[in-house]
Amino acid sequence: MSVLQRDPQDMLRVLDEGGEPVGEVPDLSDDELVTMYREMYLARHFDTRAVSLQRQGRMGTYPPLSGQEGAQVGSAFALDEEDWLFPSYREHGAALHRGLPLKRTLLYWMGHEKGNRIPEDVNMFPVAVPIATQVLHATGAAWAKKLQGEDAAVMCYFGDGATSEGDFHEGLNFAGVFDTPNVFFCNNNQWAISVPRERQTASATIAQKATAYGFEGVQVDGMDPLAVYAATRAAVEKAKDPGEDERRPTLIEAVQYRFGAHTTADDPTVYRDTDEVEEWKRKDPIPRLEQFLRNTGRLDDEKVEAIESSVKDEVAEAIEAAESEARPEPSEMFSNVFAEQTPEIRAQAEAFAELHERRGDEGFLRE
């Protein structure tokens, strides 16, 4: 039986909190497993540095991901090269696995549109801030792949809060009707800013919402990267049509926790207990995978130290690069609105340039 066919209320697990296998370990090479660990570690370290950049006024509002690395990296790992990824705004970890340079992620949160310009060789869509809107884009993209006869799965991330939006419903419903090659991946981190999961919906699980769309929903321990990988891989394969007319979308609910604030503008102590946070920290996906890798001889102190130091260098370099990026030219505001500038936009751009020339940056920048 496929892992997708289990009762949506029966959560899939591979590793327990101590890193001991309690389910079937997916078939990944030693290298892959260590890379998975390294990327989770990288995501965590990146996150810590990003939060502190924001605190120092070197970056704008930023949404941290700590605690969610297992779900992000584990799931992104299950994608093949040709597959696509549609993120929300928090999937910096999944993005780095896909190959989005950390510098781009930093630039975006530093207020540069360029950060949203995904390199041509990375099959990923830009960040989606309006909640759940990307579910429809991902469905449409998968539908396009199917109509174009390309065999690619389209992964879409969203939060627990996003499941309340109409666009979540419409996207999954279209996917069910048109059998689009989608994997809908809900990062259920228990909170939508201050609103707890129980206030979001009365259904016992989010996975069971798939029933409404006539396809499978599975709940997985989102703090367990190997369980996440296993479920996602099955869903990716199913999306790519293993046999006659078996291509179907899947809804995955990865049960996890956001250790930090919703964004750097948020203070979670106002609405949740530190006890709850502590409890979830004991499920931290990083030590859990590390323990498993150590227990099975794939990782040791030396390797871990090497990873730590390479990760630190990598992040430091990215920050350095992002910070030395010049501020975009103000004229860029007027480009890329349309393929060709309209006369009105051209006139506005010219008027702006003239005034900027005359009054300089002081005529515009506020302190």
Binding site: F125, T133, L136, H137, L147, Q148, G171, N336
Partner: protein, 331 residues
């Protein structure tokens, strides 16, 4: 358009169908999607026969969900397809409003050109057909105010086909509003095959020297009729049909006004915040020194569109247009 092209005599809605058919034949990235567009051929028959010819993968009946239609079409467009999404009536576009303004309009800018959104959203639009509630909206101003969208409203079968082909070929999203009052009101010559009417260019429908009247869509007809009536009274009216309301052809608009110094705007949409305000503001911005009278706004009233027992009182009528033009002339 080459000399040798054959022409057909089509209604406006037939021209829509012909435009779709032409581009579907030319370009297999084009798909038509929406509620009842398939076997049923659209509630106005704008997609009649396309499903038979192009099949279920290119003429797609969707579930009843406008945000779903627009949002999936955006995803398709980003992946290299050329979706033409039908909204059954423009009054039912609002569930898709977020997808249209937050995403379709901004995908190119947000991604600095990495992703684009060559999407056409078509909808029957405007009043006058004694339709049920919410079926008679004209809210083009909403879309014209959102940077990143083009908004086209044709008034003749010829323009309809040519503009629709241009819209489908446009690399950016186009809102294509079809004045359903004149879907079948008259026929016009429409070339077979391929031609474009460029987006962003107004057409002077009638030359005149005393006053410029700006209009578009279904209001072009009462405006032309009023202009003819006034001609008999010795008033020479120039009628400019905008055809594209965003981006507006300000050059043509201003040029006409520089000649006449007097103007009126006719649209069905509510007066306050309608495009009449934008046209008026543009005229005094660019040609105040020519202005001899206030620009008259002959528009829908600032009230919800009434049920059909009263709709004729709501819509600008020939008499109202005449009176408005006369005010501009006699000021």
């Amino acid at each position: 358009m080459s000399q040798s092209q054959q022409t057909q005599n089509l209604t406006l809605v037939q021209a829509v169908r012909d435009g779709l058919h032409t581009e579907m034949t030319n370009d297999d990235r084009v798909v038509v999607m929406g509620e009842d567009v398939g076997k049923n051929g659209g509630v106005f028959r704008a997609t009649e026969g396309l499903w038979n010819e192009f099949g279920d993968d290119r003429v797609i009946d969707t579930p009843l969900a406008e945000s779903g239609i627009a949002g999936t079409a955006i995803g398709m467009a980003a992946m290299g397809m050329r979706p033409v999404a039908e909204m059954q009536f423009s009054g039912f576009m609002y569930p898709a409003f977020d997808q249209i303004v937050s995403h379709a309009a901004r995908l190119r800018a947000r991604s600095r050109g990495r992703f684009t959104c060559p999407l056409v959203v078509r909808a029957p639009y405007g009043g006058g057909i004694r339709a049920p509630e919410h079926h008679s909206e004209s809210k083009e101003a909403f879309y014209a105010h959102e940077a990143g969208l083009k908004v086209v409203i044709p008034s003749t079968p010829y323009d309809t086909k040519g503009l629709l082909i241009s819209a489908i070929r446009d690399p950016d999203p186009v809102i294509f509003l079809e004045p359903k009052l004149i879907y079948r009101a008259f026929r016009g010559d429409v070339p077979e095959g391929d031609y474009e009417v460029p987006i962003g260019e107004a057409a002077v429908r009638r030359e005149g020297t005393d006053v410029s009247v700006y209009t578009y869509g279904a209001m072009t007809r009462p405006t032309m009729e009023a202009a003819e009536n006034l001609e008999e009274e010795g008033v020479s009216v120039e009628v400019v049909d905008l055809r594209t309301v965003s981006p507006m052809d300000k050059e043509t608009i201003v040029k006409s006004f520089e000649k006449t110094g007097r103007a009126a705007v006719v649209h069905e949409a509510p007066k306050t915040g309608g495009l009449g305000a934008e046209i008026t503001a543009t005229l005094q911005e660019r040609a105040l020194l020519h202005q001899e009278a206030p620009v008259e706004r002959i528009a829908g009233y600032d009230v919800p569109y009434p049920l059909y027992a009263l709709e004729d009182y709501y819509l600008p009528s020939v008499a109202r247009v005449e009176e408005g033009i006369r005010n501009a002339v006699e000021f």
